[in-house]
């Protein structure tokens, strides 16, 4: 016999989801139009109908550890067709945002990243880090920081030495990876437990080998944005998302190549504009800027979709990353030294903010959604 589920509504949770952009969740009257309309929902226990009532009853445990909220790509078909204007797409987005904060530790940092008032403090952290570490390094005779760089050509490393940059950035990056790893462990356990309770899978345990195979299987789907293109309402969003996605991917590859070139071969930048890696960097940068700009435009013009701080945070940060990077390069070539160094500092702030916010902000979807898709593939749900 199935055990009875004890329903214990958490009104605080309801209010938080409402605050995260799910303000219409209580309008749902369970007609299930959403679950029928959703082009990517599975046939077995489809979403988001059941997620909507769980949300309006404040059943946190039914949502946070539920892989289905991640299978949703926020196409918006459900929200468009919802006869009550309950916007299931936005509710799920808000629940995802809540889940990210739930799995990311430490909580304090999660709160800071998701609170617009604390954004200046957050952005001041890398500046402080550069100053403190740079000044401390001076004590050891290392000139990593020169706040009045000069010379014939603009070399950003003269201002903040590449090593200083890496000393700050690399630990931040790996800190984020660590946060992800810890969050994912709990996440995997939770979604498996939920799938067993709800009858979404018949697999008792997660077998690591099978799971990795499933993960490999979904990678092409992710890269090609296959799920995205199944969407009706927001199908055009696939383009901008792809541009941003591949922009980041390209820049990540370029950064890694130059890292190896610099530390492995001792060749310091700036590198020639004719270098093919540089081409890749520029193309990726342009893709990121255009993609992010399109996303912002999309959010501004779409007034039937809820845009909360969590949404603006990542699209604006993505655009800022691209713009500051590109402008740094352009002002360097153009010889506007003062401007170039200033923008470079901004660029570094953006990068650090990006790294630190990865597991705490909406950026985390890259990991959770991929894992959830792999889990669905693994669990054999149709």
């Amino acid at each position: 016999m199935t055990e009875r589920y004890m329903v214990e509504p958490d009104v605080g949770f309801i209010n938080e989801v409402i605050g995260l952009g799910g303000q219409d969740l209580k309008k749902c009257y369970q007609c299930a139009t959403c679950a029928v309309a959703c082009p990517i929902s599975p046939d077995n226990k489809p979403f988001p109908r059941k997620e909507m009532i769980a949300a309006s009853w404040g059943l946190k445990d039914k949502l946070v550890g539920n892989a289905d909220i991640w299978l949703c790509h926020n196409c918006g078909d459900c929200s468009t067709l919802c006869p009550r204007g309950a916007k299931p797409g936005d509710v799920l987005a808000a629940v995802r945002s809540y889940a990210i904060q739930e799995y990311a530790r430490p909580k304090k940092l999660a709160d800071m990243i998701n609170n617009p008032k604390k954004l200046p403090v957050l952005m001041a952290i890398p500046v402080v880090l550069f100053l403190v570490i740079g000044l401390m390094a001076k004590l050891f005779g290392l000139h990593w920081l020169d706040i009045t760089p000069n010379g014939d050509s603009i070399v950003h490393a003269k201002f903040i030495h590449s090593t200083l940059v890496d000393v700050v950035m690399i630990p931040t990056f790996f800190f984020s990876i660590g946060v992800f790893a810890l969050g994912l462990r709990r996440f995997m356990a939770d979604i498996h437990k939920d799938a067993l309770i709800c009858g979404k899978t018949d697999k008792e345990k997660i077998d690591p080998k099978g799971f990795v195979e499933a993960l490999v299987k979904v990678i092409p789907t992710v890269l090609q944005h296959k799920k995205f293109t199944e969407c009706g309402e927001n199908a055009e969003r696939a383009t901008s998302h792809m541009m941003v996605f591949f922009g980041f991917l390209g820049l990540f590859i370029v950064t890694n190549i130059f890292f190896v070139v610099m530390y492995g071969f001792g060749i310091h930048g700036p590198y020639s504009q004719l270098n093919p890696v540089k081409w890749l960097g520029n193309i990726a940068g342009v893709s990121l800027i255009i993609g992010a700009a399109l996303m912002i435009k999309d959010r501004i013009t779409k007034d039937d979709q809820v845009s909360a701080y969590k949404d603006w945070f990542i699209v604006v940060l993505a655009l800022a990353l691209g713009l500051t990077g590109m402008l740094t390069q352009m002002t360097r070539i153009g010889g506007a030294a003062c401007m170039s160094y200033s923008i470079y500092l901004l660029h570094l702030i953006c990068i650090w903010t990006f790294f630190i916010s990865l597991p705490f902000s909406k950026f985390a979807h890259i990991i959770y959604r991929t894992v959830a898709m792999a889990y669905m593939e693994y669990s054999g749900r149709k």
Binding site: E3, Y5, E8, V11, Y29
Partner: protein, 778 residues
């Protein structure tokens, strides 16, 4: 009245093309009646032709053209008896020449050939002529005494609203209320559901504003601490005796003998004399219904707004929901009483009830039905009371488990606003158990929107029990009618008084008594106020029609009423018993006493009377019987293979319109049937069937409304009575060596026009299979 006839045959709308009009004209001419034709009698020129004849003295007209259901306002001539012979829908359109070809010139030469459609049209004209010969112009029935005052029983929101509505248009109204205060249940609630835009939040009870408004009308008299002892007489002339609740007076209405007193110890029914003796003993101290109270007040019509009482679960009922087991499981009425006094508290220990579960369906054997006597109002009340918990406690939680959530009309806004409350949780589901859990309760539910099996902890459980109409416990109206003091219980409405729920909501089965509010069905205050307006309008219609001597409903404006030839009455009481509306009383001998303004003119009495002494001026045994007899029944003397003749007696309310629609849609049926519209199948007297069969017709069918649980009869039980009578006629047929299958009854709804041809054709085929009537040609 000297009858001066005129027969008019219209040749428009395809009639002239399909029929041999000259031969049609021969029919009245052979009888010596003047006949005219025109291509468009409903047009100006055609109409002038008839009007000119009327001006010249014609007063008995047969207009063979379209169905009487169309152009009824055109073919209306003051002081004339008119029969509309339906040769358009009934003959030409329903028997197109493409399917029923006319005879060719060659075929006409052989006298053994016949044209079925032409025969049909000629028969119908003959039938029309026979009818107008037998009917009289009706004269309105005038009451000797007439009152247009309106009595409202019940001083709740419904009664107050009805009184205000009637007083607004100038009628004198008396409200009687059995309690010492006005307002009814609405005076006792904490808040009520919305009655106006934007319909999104609870409001204070409207009852005080209703009382204030009522007091502005000098025409309204209020009598509290008063009940109705008896209502005697008839609409327009009711004599009402009022009394204090609990008083025993001689004008308390006598009650019929309860069934257990009608039998002896062995269970055999007592004879009539013995029963009457017991009846008199049973009602000792109460005067007979026919004795009028000289001190009684006069009223023209009654609005019954007696309201409801909360459902009281029996001992052990809802034990699976913890009712009776835990003091913290209560009904919505008990919850309302508590909420009206202050914050909601657990009855067990007085702690705040911060978590309350509202259950809308008892589950178990009841399936997914709501509690009995529930309705949309109980959904609304659950939402309202869920709000109380939230008003009382900031951290309060309300759960509503429902099988049906009904918030009709703009109350959808109220549902939406309740839904928006973060502390209110709604789900469909079946509550299977409520059990104690320490000082609290655990509620288990299956098949919810949240999953298969869930449970919730709560401080209190509220059952959404229903509103029992006052008429379920007590007749309230205490009618001094021979059929009894209450509305006839037809076993369909659980004590709610109603005659036809959908079509005629305010009509009870007693003309002149109009039900409104929760006595009619469970409803909200908003619905009750609207209902009150409807009933007030009906009451006004009733007094005005009674004053003019015409029927109120459903044959509004009908001037005829049943006329009795008492010399031949055998006091069999069938008419008194069978009248669906209790229109007839009888004296101690059993002679019926008609009350024409109670009558709805269905003719059920006429159908019931074995002596055939009841009839209407324009609708009687002779008029229909003559129509039947005027049908030409060809025999082997006429043709080597004579066509069959089958009579159809068709209810004019549903079946006849369905036939018209079928014709309009181009559906055809056998041309061997002859149809006669009747007021109700209840008015069909078996003599017509005997007449038909004895003159050689091969079969007779009755086409009328559905009966049973979803009855559609305008007169409640006409089609049901007809079926009982048809079963009895079977024996009579057998004694004549005629097959029972020659007589049949079929049910049809007005929208089932597509089935009509099939029903008719199948019956014709079944009669053809039996062979011709052996009496043919005698």
């Amino acid at each position: 009245m000297d009858k001066k006839y005129g027969v008019y045959i219209c040749t428009g709308c395809g009639i002239g093309e399909a029929l041999d009009v000259k031969a049609l004209c021969d029919v009245p001419e052979e009888e010596g009646l003047p006949v005219k034709t025109h291509s468009c009698y409903c047009g100006k020129e055609g109409l002038e032709e008839i009007k000119k004849d009327v001006a010249d003295g014609a007063n008995t007209l047969v207009i063979a053209a379209c169905s009487r259901r169309v152009n009824f306002d055109i073919f209306k001539f003051e002081g004339c008896a008119v029969d509309r012979v339906n040769i358009r829908e009934g003959v030409v359109w329903s028997h197109p020449r493409s399917e029923f070809p006319a005879l060719t010139e060659e075929e006409k030469e052989d006298e053994d050939n016949f044209d079925r459609v032409q025969m049909m049209a000629e028969d119908y004209i003959r039938m029309g002529m026979a009818r107008v010969e037998k009917i009289k112009l009706p004269e309105a029935y005038k009451l000797d005494n007439f009152s247009n005052r309106i009595l409202v029983i019940g001083g709740g929101v419904t009664g107050l609203s009805a009184a205000i509505d009637a007083a607004k248009v100038g009628y004198d109204v008396t409200i009687v209320e059995k309690e010492s205060y006005l307002g009814g249940y609405a005076a006792k609630v904490r808040k009520q559901t919305p009655v106006g835009m934007p319909y999104d939040s609870l409001i204070p009870s409207v009852v005080q504003s209703k009382i204030d408004e009522m007091e502005k009308y000098p025409g309204i008299t209020v009598k509290t601490n008063t009940v109705v002892a008896r209502i005697a007489g008839q609409p327009g002339d009711f004599t009402v005796t009022l009394k204090k609740p609990g008083d025993k007076i001689e004008f308390d209405v006598p009650y019929p003998l309860p069934p257990e007193m009608k039998v002896d110890e062995k269970g055999n029914e007592l004879d009539a004399e013995k029963q009457h003796e017991l009846y008199l003993e049973y009602n000792k101290g109460r005067v007979d219904i026919l004795k009028t109270d000289p001190a009684g007040e006069k009223f023209g019509a009654v609005i019954l707004a007696a309201g409801w009482r909360p459902y009281k679960p029996a001992a052990g009922e809802f034990a699976h929901l913890g009712f009776g087991e835990s003091p913290d499981v209560i009904t919505n009425h008990q919850f309302e009483e508590m909420a009206a006094k202050g914050p909601v508290l657990c009855p067990s220990d007085g702690r705040p009830a911060k978590s309350v579960v509202f259950i809308q369906s008892p589950g178990g054997d009841a399936g997914d039905s709501d509690f009995s006597y529930a309705g949309a109002v109980t959904s609304m009340v659950a939402l309202k009371q869920a709000k109380y918990v939230r008003e009382d406690y900031e951290d309060g939680k309300s759960y509503v488990f429902y099988q049906h959530m009904r918030t009709p009309g703009l109350n959808e806004n109220f549902y939406k606003s309740v839904q928006q409350d973060p502390g209110i949780f709604l789900t469909k589901g079946e509550v299977t158990a409520v059990s104690k859990n320490g000082s609290g309760l655990i509620i288990e539910a299956d098949n919810t929107l949240l999953g298969e099996k869930i449970q919730v902890k709560a401080d209190m459980v509220v059952l959404g029990t229903g509103m029992v109409p006052a008429t379920a416990d007590d007749p309230v109206v205490n009618l001094a009618y021979r059929q009894g003091p209450a509305f006839r219980d037809i076993g369909l409405f659980e004590g709610y008084c109603d005659s036809n729920f959908i079509c005629f909501p305010y009509e009870t089965q007693r003309t002149g008594i109009y039900a409104a509010g929760a006595v009619r069905r469970s409803m909200t205050i908003e619905e009750s106020m609207e209902d009150a307006a409807g009933a007030a309008l009906k009451a006004i219609q009733c007094v005005e029609c009674s004053n003019r001597g015409v029927a109120v409903h459903p044959r509004s404006g009908d001037m005829t009423f049943p006329d009795f030839f008492f010399q031949r009455c055998t006091q069999c009481k069938r008419c008194t018993d069978e009248c669906p509306f209790g229109a007839l009383d009888d004296d101690e001998k059993g002679t019926p006493k008609p009350n024409p303004t109670r009558c709805r003119r269905c003719g059920t009495c006429m159908g019931a009377c074995p002596e055939r002494i009841i009839g209407f001026a324009d609708y009687n045994i002779d008029s229909i019987g003559s129509m039947v007899k005027s049908v030409k029944v060809p025999s082997e003397d006429d043709y080597s293979e004579p066509p069959f003749r089958i009579l159809g007696l068709v209810c004019e309310n549903d079946a006849f319109p369905a036939l018209d629609i079928a014709a309009l849609k181009g559906l055809s049926y056998s041309a061997d049937v002859r149809l006669i519209p009747v007021r109700c199948l209840g008015s069909v007297n078996v003599i017509w069937i005997k007449d038909a069969l004895s003159q050689g017709m091969d079969g007779v069918f009755l086409l009328g409304c559905k009966h049973g649980d979803d009855y559609q009869c305008h007169f409640v039980k006409g089609s049901e009575l007809a079926e009982i009578r048809m079963k009895k006629i079977g024996d009579a047929l057998a004694s004549l060596a005629l097959e029972e299958e020659r007589v049949a009854q079929f049910e049809i709804a007005i929208d089932e026009y597509d089935k009509v041809p099939q029903i008719i054709n199948e019956f014709v085929e079944s009669v053809e299979a039996l062979g011709p009537n052996p009496f043919k040609g005698f």
